[in-house]
């Protein structure tokens, strides 16, 4: 049984058929790529998986259970974490606080306990802070723990989003354009980090990305969508030469005698 299965998922916004009968399966431990031209519906698919949108038709199952239409907070609890295309860190909070926010399952103390600062509350806080520090170290953000998140450079903010997501102890991590704005050195580091997340932390990763150096290098399976529909799925080698994929990104090839002189 795959970790995540989408079956014939449709998403319609008024007149716009944003996602049309998309199906794919992601095995546990895979690094799965989701690519396509702008507006193809990739982020919409992420939003469908994480419960921000509800599909009109189709099934989305995670670890065997249907999650289509569940609330985002519930889906996050079940083990799906995500980052955002437009970076949504909590800008006025510190880096450490950003990560700690996601630690609800580690922090069982009640509101009353928080107000009275009971011993069990203090214990939970310490455990949470410790775990947050560990995650920041993994993502190389430990020295920035006390900095205000909004003042960080974009690359660090993206890593912060990942650290924050990891606090959920997820099984599945959805990364939405993590390489945006990175140079080739940073992209290479990102590749290593993604592999680390899978190899050392046992995560399954789905990647929406435009940067082909990242996608082709780190993904094992790539699923291509255009205008909301699946047009191809396969290994990076297969996708690189797939005619439909090339057509979608580069346009149809014109016959030679139509080229202007």
């Amino acid at each position: 049984m795959s970790l995540l299965e989408l079956h014939a998922v449709d998403k319609i916004f008024g007149g716009l058929h944003a996602v049309r009968a998309v199906s794919f399966q992601v095995e546990k431990g895979a690094i799965f790529g989701l690519i396509g031209p702008n507006g193809a519906g990739k982020t919409t698919l992420f939003n469908l998986i994480t419960g921000v949108y509800t599909p009109e038709h189709g099934r989305i199952s995670f670890a065997g259970k249907n999650i289509a239409g569940l609330k985002p907070a519930l889906i996050a609890e079940r083990g799906i974490a995500r980052t955002f295309q437009n970076i949504r860190v909590f800008r006025t909070m510190t880096v450490a606080e950003n990560v700690m926010v996601a630690g609800h399952h580690l922090h069982k103390a009640s509101i009353a306990a928080a107000m009275l600062r009971t011993r069990s509350y203090e214990r939970d806080e310490q455990a949470l802070a410790k775990r947050a520090q560990e995650l920041l170290e993994i993502l190389g953000l430990a020295e920035l723990a006390g900095e205000v998140a909004g003042s960080l450079p974009y690359g660090s903010q993206r890593r912060l989003e990942i650290a924050r997501g990891l606090m959920l102890s997820p099984e599945l991590l959805l990364l939405d354009e993590p390489a945006a704005g990175m140079n080739s050195q940073e992209a290479r580091t990102l590749n290593e980090q993604i592999r680390f997340l899978r190899d050392q932390l046992g995560l399954t990763v789905i990647l929406v990305e435009h940067n082909m150096a990242v996608v082709m290098n780190v993904c094992e399976t790539i699923h291509v969508v255009d205008h909301g529909e699946t047009i191809a799925e396969g290994s990076p080698a297969e996708i690189k030469v797939h005619p439909k994929v090339l057509a979608a990104y580069l346009g149809e090839e014109q016959p030679a005698d139509e080229a202007s002189s």
């Binding site: 994480t50 921000v52 609330k71 985002p72 907070a73 519930l74 996050a76 609890e77 974490a81 995500r82 955002f84 437009n86 949504r88 860190v89 909590f90 800008r91 006025t92 909070m93 606080e97 700690m100 926010v101 996601a102 630690g103 609800h104 399952h105 922090h107 103390a109 509101i111 928080a114 107000m115 009275l116 600062r117 011993r119 509350y121 939970d124 806080e125 949470l128 900095e147 205000v148 998140a149 909004g150 003042s151 924050r164 997501g165 606090m167 959920l168």
Partner: protein, 336 residues
């Protein structure tokens, strides 16, 4: 051991407040004393409102309604309890203290429940709609009290005694409650719950994606905020001869908004400063009511244009003394 230390500190603080009371009552005129009491009550209102408007970023402008519920609730329960408690414990200060605090707690409970009732449907709405709905609820509450004959309708409720409600409120009770509430709200704001509320303010969608139970937390914060307004209402009621719907008009909600805007939306110390500011300006401009409101209006407009974060922004006084943290880059708001 920890509990013993805490008890000792609490007793010391209460003793200090009690001692201060003698100083205040001896050293200031009735007029000034009243301002001081109102300032204390405002602090409670401001810090409570700041929890929902500032920390959680949910704009509620009908809080006078919750203050009214607390005021009427405390007044009513206090009057009902007077006979049985005096019968059991005589009529000394201990009995009065018991009646008063039970009444205040009852008022807070009623206010908290009304906060739940208002909050549950409303907190699903977007910012400006939430503001209008809370305004509407505030008015509905006032209209209900205005038409409740067993609570005196428009003339108000003053209990069974011809001289009005017992004047339980004094410096000690106002500032003991203010200290307690400021402490509790402070602890809440700087806890995991507080972090979650701030996350909701910053980016509710991201907060949800991080498994934050946003609706439950918003409603809970709203109820706590309403309950504190209830305590303030109860304290206010027992400074007056009676409780009237007139005291809880929309202007009162605006006063509360001014308190937290001036001090800085999201800052507890800012709310305290704002509360004091409003109490003082209220009295200083007592004869110039119309001008006071014009001043508040201009203040709101100018602050929004020139320095929207108010005096302290989201920072606390003690943070100003440390190294100033860099301001986050301004961001154009998206759809939300």
């Amino acid at each position: 051991m920890r509990a013993v230390i805490r008890l000792a500190v609490a007793s010391a603080v209460l003793l200090a407040i009690y001692g201060l009371q003698f100083g205040v009552e001896a050293g200031f005129t009735e007029y000034v004393q009243r301002i001081i009491l109102l300032a204390g009550i405002n602090v409670i209102l401001a810090v409570g409102l700041n929890l929902i408007n500032g920390t959680t970023g949910q704009f509620s402008i009908g809080h006078a309604g919750f203050m009214a519920v607390g005021a009427y609730g405390a007044a009513f329960v206090g009057v009902q309890l007077a006979r049985p408690v005096h019968a059991a414990l005589g009529s000394g200060p201990f009995a009065d203290a018991l009646i008063f605090n039970l009444a205040l707690l009852a008022g807070a409970l009623f206010a908290g429940i009304s906060g739940l009732i208002v909050g549950m449907p409303s907190l699903r709405l977007r910012g400006d709609y939430l503001a209008v709905v809370t305004l509407g609820f505030g008015e509905i509450i006032r209209i209900l009290f205005n038409n409740a004959s067993f609570l005196g309708s428009a003339t108000g409720y003053s209990g069974n005694d011809p001289s009005g409600l017992p004047a339980y409120t004094n410096f000690f009770w106002v500032f003991a409650w203010a200290t307690a509430i400021v402490l509790l709200i402070h602890n809440l704001t700087f806890s995991q719950t507080g972090r979650s509320l701030t996350a909701i303010r910053e980016d509710e969608i991201a907060a949800e994606a991080m498994a934050t139970p946003t609706t439950r937390l918003k409603v809970t914060a709203f109820a706590i905020s309403a309950a504190t307004a209830g305590i303030a209402g109860g304290l206010f009621a027992h400074m007056q001869a009676g409780v009237r719907p007139e005291d809880f008009r929309f202007e009162r909600s605006i006063d509360m908004v001014v308190m937290i805007i001036v001090g800085g939306l999201g800052s507890i110390s800012g709310a305290i400063l704002g509360g004091i500011f409003v109490a003082v300006s209220l009295e200083l401009m007592r004869d110039l009511q119309q001008y006071r409101l014009v001043l508040y209006a201009l203040l709101l407009i100018v602050i929004m244009i020139v320095r929207p974060e108010g005096l302290l922004g989201t920072r606390e006084l003690h943070q100003l003394l440390r190294r100033k943290s860099p301001k986050p880059a301004p961001r154009k708001t998206e759809g939300a």
